[in-house]
């Protein structure tokens, strides 16, 4: 990892010391955030350490991981570290909590800030004791020397002493190498778990403010419909109801959700809409191809000449793959509470990008950003689906009109319909095998869904991998690991077709094309634990085994699985999964295991069932009864192997473990039925 331009500085800050560590962000990492990452670490006069980070907690484990990182370098028990996250008045702008970025970018920054604090303590203690700081060490948050003790509380209580070191902050603070970790690298249950199991934690939808109302928003009956006219008068006559129309925004706020719903029903009954023609899910993939923006320069990764490679190939194969829209459907739908006071706006909401939501609110209401405060309590799941702040804006509109705090909580149907979707994909691949049965040409085009994990990890002399944008019928944006799931599904399913054409075992065929040592390691680890070689030879009616691998975000994954296909009904059942994952030095093995298991099981949904259906601008399955996400019944025998590479930088792990399960299932279905899979969700035809 580059350490260029990193810097730390020290400030006096109310009852203690503040150490700020910054690192520049590349354009690609910046997203909606500022030009640099920043972490602040406060040493209180009570000896408690507070880490202030603009990152947010949504179940992925960032809070615990960052606290562990601070405790490690400070040499204090975890209980001495407090975390303040996602509060635009208190925490720096760290950009979005996205792209597996907290582990590789924010955790190192926290470690640097904490290591700087530790060095400062050593230097100050050395001065206090008249001893050489280099000969002292910090244990349990204190330096002991000749029967005397000097700790972080002492440091914070003597700012003049610390100030003497202000200019002399070590330029190259050394963080503890992974092999010497005492707290990082050990399993740690999430620090806020007690509040979660007792129901005491206040999620954004649980925030209550004095005199608060509950708001409900009028939604269009279909995509593309615009409001022609509406009559608020009946709602306005209802006791305690604030009915609002502001351009296209119409809604009712009332002392209870029940009253708001009733008021909105009277409004909805009077609403006249202009509808617009919309494509349906039946025609989706033709539509995406027809509307491909081929005139725009596609994102491409090329090597050699794919035309030449294909022309010279001994065998050529071709296939196209379809991946429908899916919805994140976090258990907590979008929610926000907004409150105006003296022209200042405070909003509590579940978003992975508090700084961007603050900016959006400031622009919407024409006020300066420093008059808006966005607080993000640990919220109920995001999976890439909560980068925006729709509920925040809605709550703020209501609150402004009502003159009271207002809570807006989206219904499940609203969350399914009006949140953004994971992009649908049409993927076309053509490849050639040379005389030695090696892949010699690879032509891969993703229409519409994105460029993540676009390039092949296999050694192929002639490749072209393209992402071509299209005109999406539905509102689409990020989802856990972006397009890597679609791209890896198509690539890995097709790789099995090539292996068959080459008359090679799928494992052997992949290894023959893989130089990436880390990918080889996970493939071998998963195959060995699964018993790939033996189980592949065993033929049992209706049972199939498959494997797949992949890499993204500097981590690697390989999955083997076994499925059963009912010969008469075609019903598909996932029986067993073995997945090996490696993301460098593991920071918190307990959380990593949860993330990997969760990724596999979340991935099972779009692999087997999840698919957004729409017709005439309306979703036809916007409920859990008809859009069936994974349940306990879907849990196979599940074995996760975590490879710990203490010699490598830690990479994020909340995304990549989702990319290999779908193609592994697809390949197992082929093994069971002899029929290739070309679309998600996977439907096994009768064998």
């Amino acid at each position: 990892m580059s350490t260029v331009n990193r810097r730390e500085f020290l400030e006096m800050a109310g009852a203690g010391l503040l150490i700020v560590a910054t690192a520049p962000l590349s354009d690609a990492q910046r997203g909606g955030g500022s030009g640099s990452l920043e972490t602040r670490l406060h040493i209180g006069e009570d000896g408690f350490i507070t880490v202030l980070s603009g990152k947010v907690e949504e179940g992925q484990g960032a809070l615990t991981e960052l606290a562990m990182a601070a405790a490690e370098e400070l040499r204090v028990p975890l209980a001495r570290v407090r975390m303040v996250m996602g509060d635009t008045d208190q925490t720096p702008n760290d950009g979005s909590t996205a792209g597996s970025g907290t582990t590789p970018r924010t955790a190192p920054l926290v470690r640097r800030a904490a290591a700087t604090a530790r060095d400062l303590l050593l230097a100050a203690a050395g001065r206090q004791f008249g001893a050489d700081a280099g000969r002292l060490e910090v244990r349990d948050g204190a330096v002991q020397h000749a029967g005397k003790k000097y700790g972080y509380a002492d440091l914070a209580r003597s700012p003049e002493l610390a100030a003497a070191y202000k200019e002399a902050l070590p330029a190259n603070t050394v963080v503890t190498p992974a092999k010497d970790w005492q707290r990082l690298g050990k399993p740690q249950v999430r620090l806020d778990i007690r509040e979660l199991v007792t129901g005491a934690h206040r999620f954004p939808s649980d925030i209550v403010r004095p005199g608060m109302l509950y708001g409900r928003v009028l939604r269009a009956p279909s995509y593309g419909a615009t409001l022609d006219s509406v009559d608020l008068s009946a709602a306005q006559k209802m006791s305690g109801v604030t009915a609002v129309r502001d351009g296209g925004f119409v809604g009712c706020a009332a002392p209870t959700t029940f009253a708001a719903r009733k008021a909105l029903a009277t409004v909805s009954a009077t609403a006249k809409w202009k509808t617009a023609e919309q494509p349906s899910s039946d025609e989706l993939f033709g539509y995406l191809k027809q509307h491909a923006k081929l005139q725009e320069r596609p994102q491409a990764q090329d090597r050699g000449s794919v035309q030449k490679g294909l022309a010279e190939a001994r065998t050529r194969l071709k296939a196209s793959y379809q991946v429908p829209y899916v919805q994140h459907a976090p258990m907590e739908p979008r929610a926000a509470v907004a409150e105006w006071q003296n022209g200042r706006l405070t909003v509590w909401t579940g978003t992975s990008n508090p700084a961007s939501v603050r900016q959006q609110l400031a622009e919407t209401f024409g006020i300066a950003q420093d008059r808006v405060r966005v607080l993000v309590p640990h919220f109920g799941g995001g999976f890439g689906g909560k980068h925006t702040g729709e509920a925040a804006t809605e709550a703020a509109r209501f609150a402004k009109e009502a003159g009271r705090p207002v809570s807006v909580q989206w219904t499940r149907v609203e969350e399914f319909t009006w949140a953004y979707f994971r992009p649908a994909a049409l993927i076309e691949i053509e490849a050639g095998l040379d005389a030695g049965n090696a892949i010699s040409a690879w032509d891969f085009t993703n229409y519409n869904s994105g460029a993540a994990a676009l390039d092949t990890p296999y050694r192929i002399a002639n490749t072209r991998a393209r992402f071509v944008a299209s005109d999406s019928p539905l509102r689409q944006s990020s989802y856990r690991v972006l397009a890597a799931t679609a791209n890896n599904f198509a690539r890995e399913a097709f790789t099995d077709e090539l292996a068959e054409a080459a008359d090679k075992d799928p494992l052997e065929f992949r290894l023959a094309h893989l130089d990436n040592e880390r990918m080889r390691n996970v493939l071998n680890a998963a195959a060995q634990r699964f018993g790939w070689v033996e189980r592949r030879k065993k033929r049992r009616p209706g049972i199939g085994v498959g494997l797949a691998c992949g890499t993204e975000k500097n981590s690697v994954v390989a999955t083997c699985c076994e499925v059963e296909v009912n010969r008469t009904s075609g019903a598909l059942r996932l029986l067993e999964v073995v997945q090996a994952f490696e993301c460098g030095a593991i920071l918190n093995p307990a959380n990593l295991r949860s993330q990997v298991e969760g990724c596999i099981m979340m991935g099972v949904g779009p692999a087997l069932r999840e698919e957004i259906l729409f017709k005439d601008g309306k979703l036809t399955n916007a409920r859990f009864a008809t859009y069936q996400v994974p349940q306990f019944h879907d849990l196979p025998k599940l074995d996760v192997i975590l490879l710990d590479r203490k010699d490598l930088e830690s990479a994020g792990a909340g995304e990549t473990p989702i990319i290999a399960i779908t193609p592994a299932i697809a390949n197992a279905v082929f093994d069971a039925t002899g029929k290739r899979v070309h679309s998600m969700p996977i439907r096994a035809s009768r064998g």
Partner: protein
Amino acid sequence: MATIRLSVNGKTRSVDTEPERPLLEVLREDLGLTGTKYGCGEGQCGSCTVLLDGKPAVSCVTTVRAAEGRKIVTIEGLAEGGTLHPVQQAFLDEGAVQCGYCTPGMVLQTVALLQNHPKPTDAQIVDGLNGNLCRCADYQRIMAAVRRAAAATGKKG
């Protein structure tokens, strides 16, 4: 509007409300018991699970009138004097929580399951909890927590 008397977590609470309101909304908005979560409003996800006379019920499709005169237990009513219920303790020890939004419903469903099946088989756990969704899909950890809770309760009993 009607005055409805509810027995919640061992206390009698009196609420002036439209009797057809969902119990979920009365618990959250009138009684401040926000541990019970809205997930779908249709009884399809189990986030709003409470115990009614000891049996699990989806409070989003239970009217407050229907809950009158019955013993309601919410997640706030499980721990006694700062000591976690064995099921809560098992979820904590197992780390069977990611975002935690489904956790109150999962915990209460598990309490009910273990009343019926003190030593559940894996198939009984799956059947008993299948109506409770976890989008973090932490099902493997939750299964482990339920097994742990069963073992702990078994020892105690």
